[in-house]
């Protein structure tokens, strides 16, 4: 009896240990990536990187100011596609979400979240690039916007559903039409949550590379118009990383640090926004 109990205790300790081991193992790559990118990137950061154009092949120096600006523009474009569609879809799903059509929308958004980003790239290529007959910032922005859409839709829906019905009823009881209740009460109450969803979507879009490869392509110059190819930070990192030049590697690390830092800060900020709202579970 006692020995059986001992064995069970031992197994318990062993299993718990294995789970803790799994957690530690999972954190190794996180620490390694963040630590290594920071260590390699921080020395390479310089003022020039932010303000200058890439140096010609083989020469050292220069910067990726155009890629930085390009990424900002692409994300801006993506937001102007993804935010209105995403937020209004989320409102629809949360406030009128019981119809068959709503189920279809929800399903589509979920499935879209799982579609590989490179497939979205091909889609936008056949739709936009082929009809415009060239790579363009516009195509890149659309691709990233499509990528953001499901995240924004579903977080908006989920967070608006957390808005207590009592608030809606209070508004309706005052004789305010439903649409104004939604706009003035529900959306306002859910705003921090929606902001969270948008930040997470932006963080994801800013780091995406695959769909940009054949939509916005790349450019060595400052962006001038939306119907021309445009440089972006992730593509720049990719190009530099697989190049044989030492100086380009240095710049790739610096760019990676910048990109990773931004993405992590956005994620942490998004988490803080929701942290106070639903503390503990």
């Amino acid at each position: 009896m006692a020995s059986a109990y001992k064995r069970r205790r031992a197994l318990d300790v062993l299993a718990r240990g294995a789970c803790i081991g799994a957690v530690l193992l999972a954190l190794v790559p996180l620490v390694s990536v963040i630590g290594y990118v920071t260590a390699k990137g921080i020395g390479g950061l310089s003022f020039d990187l932010f303000t200058k154009l890439p140096a010609p092949v083989g020469e050292t120096g220069g910067g990726f100011g155009n890629a930085l600006l390009g990424t900002l523009m692409l994300v801006g474009l993506a937001c102007s596609v993804g935010i209105p569609i995403g937020v209004l879809s989320g409102v629809y799903l949360s406030e009128f979400g019981h119809s068959r059509f709503a189920k279809l929308v929800r399903f589509s958004a979920d499935v879209m979240a799982g579609v590989p980003s490179i497939a979205i790239g091909i889609f936008v290529y056949t739709l936009v690039v082929l009809s415009m007959r060239r790579f363009s910032a516009l195509a890149g922005g659309i691709a990233l916007g499509i990528l953001m859409l499901p995240t924004i839709t579903r977080t908006t829906e989920e967070l608006l559903k957390l808005v207590p019905d009592a608030l809606r009823e209070a508004g309706l009881a005052l004789g305010i039409p439903k649409w104004r209740v939604i706009l003035r009460v529900v959306l306002r109450t859910g705003a921090p949550g929606i902001a969270t969803g948008i930040m997470l979507a932006v963080a994801r879009a800013a780091g995406e590379t695959a769909p940009l490869l054949f939509t916005s392509f790349n450019s060595r110059f400052w962006p001038t118009s939306l119907d021309k190819p445009i440089a972006s930070l992730p593509i720049q990192i990719f190009t530099y990383a697989v190049s044989p030049y030492e100086d380009w590697h240095r710049q790739a690390w610096a760019a990676a640090l910048l990109l990773m830092g931004t993405v992590l800060v956005l994620n942490i900020a998004a988490r803080m926004l929701t942290y106070q709202k639903d503390s503990g579970r």
């Binding site: 490179i118 009823e169 054949f214 392509f217």
Partner: protein, 335 residues
């Protein structure tokens, strides 16, 4: 949803068809033009996701029509990929995708489930959230940053320490034969494992959290240890939910592009060795799409995309079915 709201809901839904159906509608008092317009506007935007998905399916099928017609099914089962002669067989890339994804699952699933069990069942309350957040951060790091890390840290490490050790200890297996290069199938599978781990872990954790506490209490009351509780009460009930987490992870692994492209070596050959360079469907698209000259070439590459698109959609539907099976479990909360 409150009864009042339900009433409003039904009344707006019926409003267009029975505009004068009277008393009840007027009591609820909101069939006004603004509401109807608002609903129509939001519904129009909401149709965006449906239309985009449909457009994707149509557009990608059209883009790959040429190759579908020319090669038919043999496309996925022949292995000469020769743009110069305009012959395209995608078997090596299908193989690369499948093997690298399975390898990733093999590495990631046990660890992810361990993490999920710890986060859902064992960890003291105060570290659950921060720890869960750290694991989720793994999913936030951009793919291209993983790729960069893979090129300069992971691949050299594999080449210099891991692969020689594997070859020494297990070299009699064909899996671990060949020159240790670093870049290759093993690196691809490993980096994929890192990238899908947070997906599997967080879905599995949520699924376990959704198991009602009465299950745990019943096991504990019978004198089960913490681990026995997990094994007998939690895991069996969470089984289909965990399966859905794994399927979602697989979906991510199949379509993941940049990090894999940067470390897998990019050679379309089928080799039994995990040390050998390989290529995946996604990596071939990434490498060749912009340079594809010729309609058939582009079409063949698009077909790879279409294949990925179709497979990930099927996997997503499967994952949802698995979760909904859990939802029907007696007394269970919603996952």
């Amino acid at each position: 949803m409150s009864p009042a709201e339900q009433l409003i809901q039904t009344s707006t839904e019926r409003a267009p068809r029975t505009p004068s159906s009277g008393f009840r509608l007027r009591i609820v008092g909101e069939v006004n033009l603004g509401d109807r317009i608002f609903r129509i506007v939001t519904a129009t935007f909401a149709s965006g996701a449906v239309l985009t998905l449909a457009a994707m399916a149509i557009q990608m099928t059209r883009a790959s029509a040429l190759s579908l017609k020319r090669f038919g099914l043999s496309y996925a089962f022949t292995s000469n990929w020769d743009p110069v002669r305009d012959a395209y067989g995608a078997l090596p890339f299908v193989y690369g995708t499948v093997v690298s994804s399975l390898l990733a699952l093999l590495i990631a699933v046990p660890i992810a489930i361990g993490v999920a069990i710890y986060l859902a069942e064992l960890a003291p309350g105060f570290i659950r959230r921060p720890l869960g957040f750290l694991v989720e951060l793994l999913a936030a790091i951009p793919s291209v940053v993983y790729g960069l890390w893979g090129i300069f840290l992971l691949a050299p490490w594999l080449r210099d320490s891991v692969q020689p050790a594997l070859a020494k200890g297990l070299g009699f297996l064909p899996l671990f034969k060949g020159v240790p290069r670093g870049f290759g199938m093993l690196a691809g599978g490993l980096i994929l494992a890192i990238m899908i781990l947070p997906t599997i872990a967080s879905v599995a954790r949520d699924v376990m959290r959704a198991i009602p506490n009465t299950f745990r209490e019943a096991a504990l009351a019978l004198g089960a240890t913490r681990w026995e509780t997990v094994r007998t009460a939690v895991l069996p009930s969470a089984r289909s939910g965990i399966a859905s987490a794994i399927v979602l992870g697989l979906g991510r692994a199949l379509g993941e592009t940049m990090a894999v492209t940067m470390v897998i070596g990019n050679r379309g050959e089928i080799s039994s060795s995990l040390f050998a360079p390989s290529a995946t469907m996604a990596s071939v698209i990434a490498n060749e799409y912009t340079e594809a000259s010729g309609d058939l070439y582009l079409s063949a590459l698009s077909e790879l995309g279409l294949l990925l698109f179709a497979v990930t959609i099927v996997l997503n539907i499967l994952a949802r079915l698995l979760v909904s099976r859990m939802g029907r479990m007696p007394g269970a909360g919603r996952a």
